[in-house]
Symmetry: C2
Subunit: 181 residues, 2 copies
């Protein structure tokens, strides 16, 4: 049987970009923001100086040194045994991120082959059965099963299948599947 294809986003899903924002923002301003203060707000507008957040995205090292989202390595390794996994990142807006994201994946997800990586601008031409993403702009174009990964900026969104962490992805896609089979 053909494996089902799953498209997995990087920022805020595999990489903890919010933790990176908080760390870089503290380094730049001395102010330590808390995750709870960011809930339900746009990524940049959640911070007192939004332009700093936008600037970070173009700075060398920002993506390369982002922390790995807790649990993502173990669960994606398991998904990779069962599904056809593609890592799909909207990296094209930040050209320096292309090489950084490639190196980040090689370091933290060495079991992902280069054949499984897609860097794009818009995700509307990427086809699959499941998409795990934190942004509605990506999920809403997708004709397959949409899975919203919780991030500070999407906590007010309703009407989507939501996962709060990688344990919930495992429960949804691996344990449910085990029962179904």
């Amino acid at each position: 049987m053909e494996r089902k294809r799953i498209l997995i986003d990087m920022d805020h899903v595999m990489a903890d970009i919010t933790a990176q924002y908080i760390k870089w923002y503290k380094n730049a301003t001395g102010t330590e923001m808390k995750r709870v203060d960011l809930l339900g707000k746009e990524e940049d507008l959640a911070f007192p100086q939004p332009q700093l957040i936008r600037d970070f995205l173009f700075k060398p090292g920002f993506f390369r040194t982002a922390p790995v989202m807790e649990g993502s390595q173990d669960v994606i390794r398991e998904l990779n045994e069962v599904f056809e996994v593609f890592i799909v990142s909207a990296a094209m807006e930040f050209p320096q991120s292309l090489v950084e994201k490639h190196a980040w994946l090689a370091e933290h997800f060495s079991f992902i082959k280069w054949q499984q990586i897609i860097f794009c601008g818009s995700k509307k031409a990427i086809a699959g059965d499941y998409m795990i993403d934190d942004h509605l702009k990506n999920l809403d174009f997708f004709p397959g099963e949409r899975i919203l990964f919780t991030a500070t900026h999407n906590t007010n969104v309703n009407g989507y299948t939501r996962v709060n962490d990688w344990e919930e992805v495992r429960a949804l896609l691996l344990e449910r599947r085990a029962i179904a089979v």
Copy 2:
């Protein structure tokens, strides 16, 4: 009406990689190969020292300085008015090519927005209505209309809609369409 989506390959389609092979091979060995001697042969095996060709693909500057395929700029600009154009390049095998290809597109195809660029490993997750490509490994997965762009390595292939240059792409996709409408 929704625009039809066309996926356009870079190497050997927008960028004249064969001309670049010939130039770099001459620089490295002193031997000037002719295009006619390469017909119907694998890209690397067409040259007396195949390893050199494979090495070029990892060398800084190879993709960045590749010549633009004749006619591609004008025809892609016209296609871009009529179709939803995505540039889809299997760049992931050669990580240094990611930034070079991005810069090359910005220089030679500045009318292509970052939202329209996809760098991938395998193209099997990329969906569209038409694919223009020189490689069967890309075309054969594609469920839409497959258009084989002639390159030295595919001259012996039969059974595909073939275009020999960008004027033939214009005739196939723009003039035919104009008649149909």
